[in-house]
């Protein structure tokens, strides 16, 4: 019995010690992440300005626009994109509540929305933002020489958002408590008027870091009686920017949010194709550089910015016809939506196409309106082409090779520019 006992104790002890515990039961795997087909738009109503919202889609499906203000739904409207896949909604028909945010629920991921703000002497256009990144960056603003600049933080969601702003100008890192822990209540906008906060700054860059919630940010620049709106985007190391022909000042503004030096190279798409390394330089920590494109050529052109660190490239175009600002594109694509792209009643509109492919590419420009004829053209590799736009709701540009597309509108004393929205799904 003693021997059996010893054996029992030893074997059971060894068994209990050596026996691996049952594998922990885990919950099921997380499904793949999908972006909801929504877009957040910066809306201006009042003070002589009104906003037209254009929604383009590859299908005929339902959509809705909800305008949020002061924590409430100020107005909402439902539509369909129609057989052309495009619809324009005058926001004034939904809610005329000033500078606010609008949430567009689109029928499918292969959809795009953009706003076109027009006043008596102002015009601005910009694509609406999809789900924003936690950190975005905006550059090219100024409050010098009587120019005005506002930062428009939009939170259409159910929870409050908290952001930290890091503002850099030629004076250095701006220290203002209004930039710290900026609360954006749910279903609300928050507008920071930099003209009052930091007047007289020529080169302003803003890093928007979201601590809690989600916030879409646009900059709204006023200069020469005109205004321009452009989105804050996540910084990247490569940017592509078609630049329309034109008189006046055309600047490429590049800036980095990094607190470290960033080397950059600017390649130029000239008449003879791509000229690499036209300009090189080093951005100081959180620094900004302005490249005068006008001095290179007055024709339509394009630049590619390649850097060793994250930065954002923005085009600033100012002439007698007004001001337009837009952020460059991080990608080239085969399909582009151009919401609102159309000739204004009292002006002109131009499509600028950069062919980044190595071959000549057939490009189809499709106006999304009833009875419109599509245009077919060929763009040589590494070259830029301009095309005049007609009336309509927006355009779809398709190509065999990859392109980058931008459109501009010009009215007497005002102008606008907006990058197209690449379509990858659907």
């Amino acid at each position: 019995m003693r021997f059996v006992g010893i054996l029992l104790v030893v074997l059971l002890t060894a068994g209990a010690v050596a026996m691996p515990p049952l594998a922990q039961i885990e919950p099921g795997a997380s499904p793949g992440r999908q972006e909801p087909p929504v877009a957040v738009c910066a809306i201006e109503e009042g003070s002589g300005r009104t906003t037209g919202l254009s929604v383009l889609s590859t299908i005929d499906g339902p959509l809705s626009l909800t305008v949020f203000a002061g924590g409430e739904t100020a107005g909402s409207i439902g539509h369909r994109t129609g057989t052309n896949g495009a619809v324009t909604i005058p926001v004034v028909d939904v809610a005329a509540v000033g500078t606010v945010a609008g949430l567009v629920e689109m029928p499918i991921a292969s959809s795009a929305a953009g706003v076109f703000v027009s006043g008596a002497e102002t015009t601005s256009a910009e694509a609406c933002a999809s789900l924003p990144d936690a950190t975005t960056f905006l550059t090219g603003a100024t409050t010098a020489s009587g120019d005005t600049f506002e930062l428009h933080l939009m939170n259409p969601y159910a929870g409050s958002a908290l952001v930290e702003l890091t503002v850099q100008s030629e004076a250095g890192l701006e220290s203002n408590e209004r930039f710290d822990s900026v609360l954006v209540p749910p279903r609300s906008s928050r507008i920071l008027d930099f003209t009052d906060l930091i007047p007289g700054r020529e080169q302003i860059s803003v890093l928007v870091e979201t601590v809690d919630g989600r916030v879409m940010t646009v900059g709204r620049q006023g200069a020469s009686g005109d205004s321009a709106v452009w989105r804050a985007t996540s910084p990247a190391q490569e940017w592509l920017l078609p630049i329309p022909a034109g008189s006046g000042q055309r600047n490429l503004v590049i800036a980095t949010p990094n607190n470290a030096e960033v080397e950059y190279q600017i390649d130029f798409y000239g008449p003879d194709g791509l000229e690499e390394g036209l300009l090189t330089g080093v951005l100081a920590p959180r620094g900004q550089a302005v490249v005068d494109v006008t001095s290179l050529t007055a024709r339509e052109t394009a630049v590619r910015v390649v850097a060793t660190g994250p930065l954002v490239a923005t085009m600033w175009q100012e002439s007698e016809e007004g001001l337009s600002v837009t952020t460059a594109s991080q990608v080239a694509a085969n399909r582009w939506f151009l919401p609102n792209a159309a000739r204004p009643e009292d002006g002109t509109a131009t499509l600028v196409i950069l062919n980044t492919a190595i071959d000549s590419g057939a490009v189809v420009v499709r106006p999304l309106r009833e009875g419109a004829q599509e245009l077919r053209l060929t763009v040589d590799p590494d070259t830029v082409t301009e095309l005049a736009l007609a009336d309509g709701t927006g355009y779809l540009v398709e190509s065999v090779g990859e392109t980058v597309v931008l459109w501009t509108a010009k009215r007497p004393q005002s102008s606008s520019a907006a990058m197209g929205i690449p379509i990858f799904d659907g």
């Binding site: 019995m1 002890t13 099921g28 499904p31 909801p36 969601y157």
Partner: protein
């Protein structure tokens, strides 16, 4: 007095003094130890009257500077005892060490010499009587405990009626009058000069015994003792006793004796403070301090004694009482104080004195005290509401549910609730509906029921030591139960506390004084609640009985065994309604026994295998359960019910091993190893329950979720969805979701019936799909998707995960900072639990719904079941009923109701058998 000298029980000179032609009488030297304040001349005069030939020499020992000596009656002076001893050679056979405050009767020396010689002893001590009294006994030799605490066995003021006049071996004799062999005394270097008189006698006696000599008490040698030597020696005596032990014991003994002494000192100090005495605590402190100061000298004593030592410590243990005399006295005094309230004649108090002499009682007292400590938070703050431990529903609702009523857990189910709901409902009902008090009282009782049950079980198996009650602590906080309670399993605690009682009812064949009816009755009455708290734990007694028989144990109680089996009827409705609880391993909590437990259990059990049959058998029974259960629990078979029962069995097994390991305390290596490992198991267990909640997980989920009720509309709160990547964050059972665990609970309160989730029904599957859709991030309005489930609130617990990200970018769940420890979202669009579409105030009441009667139908956001009345219908997965009656009630399957009633009948039958059995 003269008559005493001729008493037949007193050896006479004629009997003891050798005749002239025989061996000459031993030569004696009297070492008269000077005592301050004692009359030396009187002492010398008394010595001169001693009837002994050859006349002994008298040496005065001690500082004589301040004394006027008339050395007419003395033969010499020595400064120290050692010096006095060293002066004598082989011409002296014995030294009679005598205090100068002692007055020996004339025949005292003769009697001493005679008995010491006759008993072949090395050291003999006189009977000490209090000088100036009517023969009041002071000492007839003493026993001690392991710490040297003397135990004379005399009552205070006890008169000498020759009741102790038997020569016997004792642990020690007092140094006031002792006769010691000269050669031994010289080898031992006399009395330790640093020690006070009693401690000196103890020290000298112990060293004598360890040197191979016998120590006897010689009652026929009577000495009147003035006691001057002991005045003002309180802490010195205690310190001296400690030094005596430190000098005498082997290092191995000191290894456990010293910590044991410290613990006893602490308990004594605390107990004495409770009795309003501060001195014992101070004495302990001073005594240790004194010994630390004199440690070098003590080490020197040990080294000197090393050469003389010839016996092991066991020789001392033979004359020592078990346990601590100090604690025994303290326990007796404490209980005496309590009992004195209604025990005027102290009869009970005298009874308790005998009671405290049992080591088992001390084990019970310590275990009880620890349990009191372990339930302190529950006493002051109530039972935690976390993990799997929730408040009870009102008794009528709980009994409704148990009697085949609607199971509201999750999105609801016709499957019967856990059987514990019935028992807790019944007990709450018996306590006049005070379900909160019932829960607290039951929880408090579990600890004590477990300790007593374990003590009774181990006692039945033949164990008598302190370990059998201490094992109760291991039962409720040992390897398996501690894992379960850490997850908040209140039911595991309940089942563990009942388990030894049921096992006992199966193994108690040997208890002949109980009738079969009583045995069967008790078995039924105990097994029913066990099966209700942990249905599969009902199999443990059966396994224990088979193992016991297999190990050669005596026959088991067939009546008891057979009577426990029908108790399964109480759990059948639940098991039939939710078989996955038995079989689905994916529903397990993933609990396992920590590695330290099998190691210490193995270490405790291994030496016991070498013990005699009884203790070994108990230990092996424990080993099979304590080590076999963790092996089985690591196998991927069986659901959470199996996991629970195995873990409870593991604790019972460990408790049995501890009971066996601490059954006897001795210094034999095997016993010592078993005791140490057993103590480690107890300490590990106590650490688990030291939180004051019996190891139950802390928290109050109902307090945290109270906002749901506070902010609810007139239709009452709906449901709350809880989600986390850590399963333990979810109260009760959780379901696996897409990358996280989740469940819904009732917004009104999380009650004990919701601990387990019934098998998924269509509504549950729809909720699973909705959560999958939401977690992709593609849903801008997740609140819309959750609304049909009457989910008013979403709580995300633990580290941030996918749902946190996707809920940042949505527009209909409102983040609300109501709970600092989790992320709370309100769903303003959540559907009502019951609605007739025209807002006629339908709401939940008890286990059903009520509202205004009407001609329409009422939609209930619960899984569809045709058991709902009146006129049950389905709207997708919802249930709809006619609003005609103004109430909606659920009637479960009749077989479930019949089984529930059968359990009640069985319980009543059990009680009936107990009553009948007693009368028989």
């Amino acid at each position: 007095m003269a008559s005493r000298m001729t008493d037949v029980s007193t050896p006479t000179a004629a009997e003891s003094i050798p005749k002239a032609d025989e061996t000459p009488a031993p030569t004696i030297a009297i070492l008269l130890d000077l005592v301050a304040g004692a009359d030396l001349q009187a002492a010398l005069a008394v010595l001169s009257r001693q009837v002994y030939e050859p006349s002994p020499k008298v040496i005065i020992v001690g500082p004589t500077d301040n004394i006027e000596l008339d050395l007419h009656d003395a033969d010499g002076v020595a400064a120290t005892m050692e010096e006095a001893m060293a002066e004598h050679g082989s011409g002296v056979d014995y030294f009679w060490i005598l205090h100068s405050d002692a007055r020996p009767r004339p025949d005292a020396l003769r009697a001493l010499v005679s008995e010491v010689e006759r008993n072949n002893a090395a050291l003999g001590g006189s009977k000490l009587l209090v000088a100036g009294s009517h023969d009041e006994l002071e000492s007839v030799g003493s026993a001690t405990d392991v710490f040297g605490e003397p135990y004379s066995g005399l009552d205070r003021g006890e008169i000498d009626l020759q009741q102790y006049d038997v020569v016997r071996e004792v642990a020690f004799v007092r140094s006031a009058s002792m006769l010691v062999r000269r050669d031994l005394a010289q080898g031992l270097k006399g009395l330790d000069p640093l020690l006070p008189p009693v401690a000196a006698g103890l020290d000298f006696s112990q060293r004598t015994r360890l040197a191979g000599g016998r120590v006897v008490s010689v009652p026929s040698s009577e000495v009147y003792h003035q006691g001057r030597c002991e005045k003002g020696q309180g802490w010195r005596e205690q310190a001296g006793r400690l030094r005596a032990m430190l000098t005498a014991y082997s290092l191995l003994t000191l290894l456990w004796m010293v910590p044991y002494e410290i613990v006893v000192g602490l308990l004594d100090s605390i107990g004495s403070l409770l009795l309003g005495r501060w001195r014992p605590a101070a004495r302990h402190l001073v005594s240790w301090a004194w010994n630390l100061i004199h440690l070098p000298s003590t080490v020197g004593q040990r080294l000197r004694f090393r050469n003389v030592r010839s016996a092991r410590d066991e020789e001392l243990f033979r004359f020592q009482a078990k346990g601590s005399l100090r604690l025994r006295e303290l326990g007796s005094e404490l209980s005496g104080r309590v009992l004195s309230v209604f025990d005027d004649d102290q009869a009970l108090a005298r009874g308790t004195r005998r009671l405290w002499a049992s080591p088992g009682i001390w084990g019970a007292a310590v275990a009880g005290a620890i349990t009191l400590f372990a339930v302190r938070t529950i006493v002051f703050s109530g039972v935690p509401d976390a993990g799997f431990s929730f408040i009870f529903e009102a008794p009528n609702v709980a009994l409704d549910r148990w009697l085949a009523g609607w199971n509201q857990s999750g999105l609801g189910s016709p499957a019967t609730v856990h059987p514990s709901v019935g028992v807790t409902g019944l007990i709450s009902w018996l306590l006049l509906g005070a379900e909160g008090a019932a829960r607290t009282l039951m929880t408090l009782a579990f600890g004590f029921v477990a300790i007593i049950g374990m003590g009774r079980l181990a006692g039945l198996l033949g164990l008598r030591g302190p370990g059998r009650y201490l094992a109760g602590l291991v039962l409720i906080a040992g390897p398996g139960v501690s894992v379960l309670t850490s997850r908040g399993s209140w039911l595991a605690l309940a089942a563990a506390s009942l388990l030894p009682w049921v096992v006992r009812s199966v193994l108690e064949q040997g208890v002949a004084r109980r009738s079969w009816a009583s045995k069967a009755g008790w078995a039924v009455v105990l097994a029913l609640p066990l099966a209700a708290f942990s249905p599969l734990a009902l199999g443990v007694p059966l396994v224990a009985a088979i193992t016991w028989v297999g190990l050669g144990g005596r026959r088991i109680s067939a009546v008891g065994l057979l009577a426990t089996l029908p108790a399964v009827v109480v759990a059948l409705p639940f098991l039939l309604g939710d078989p996955g609880w038995l079989t689905d391993e994916t529903r397990r909590l993933g609990l396992s026994v920590e590695l330290i437990w099998p190691v210490v259990v193995g270490l405790a059990a291994l030496p016991i295998v070498f013990f005699d049959g009884l203790v070994r058998r108990v230990a092996l029974l424990g080993v099979v359960m304590a080590l076999g259960a963790p092996i089985l629990v690591a196998l991927p078979y069986g659901g959470p019910g199996v996991e629970e029962a195995l873990l409870i069995a593991a604790s019972l097994g460990a408790a049995l091993v501890v009971a066996a390991a601490l059954d006897r305390i001795s210094v034999s290596p095997g016993c010592l190893l078993a005791s140490i490992a057993g103590t480690v198991i107890v300490v590990l267990s106590v650490a688990v329950i030291a939180d004051g909640r019996l190891g139950l997980r802390d928290g109050d989920i109902n307090d945290r979720l109270a906002f749901a009720t506070t902010l609810a509309g007139p239709e009452g709160p709906g449901r709350i969805l809880l989600a986390s990547t850590d399963r333990a964050d979810i109260p009760g059972e959780a379901r696996p979701g897409p990358g996280f665990w989740y469940r819904v609970v009732d917004g009104a309160s999380v009650t004990s019936d919701q601990a387990w989730l019934p098998e998924p029904l269509p509504g549950d599957r729809a909720l699973d799909q909705a959560l999958s859709d939401i977690s992709t991030g593609a849903e801008l309005r997740p609140g819309d998707l959750l609304a049909p489930f009457a989910i008013d609130w979403v709580l995300l617990e633990g580290p941030r995960f996918r749902l946190d990200d996707v809920l940042l970018a949505q527009i209909d769940l409102v983040p609300t900072p109501l709970d600092p420890s989790s992320r709370v979202y309100e769903n303003p669009g959540g559907a009502a639990l019951a609605t007739d579409g025209v807002d006629n105030g339908w709401h939940r009441q008890g286990a059903g719904f009520v509202g205004e009667a009407g001609s329409g139908r009422v939609a209930l956001a619960i899984n569809h079941s045709s058991g709902w009345q009146p006129e049950a219908g389905a709207i997708e997965w919802w249930t709809s009923v006619s609003a005609a009656d103004g109430e909606a009630l659920f009637a479960g399957e009749s077989v479930n109701r019949a089984l529930a009633f059968a359990a009640l009948v069985l319980l009543i039958t059990g009680f009936g058998l107990v009553v009948v059995g007693r009368r028989a």
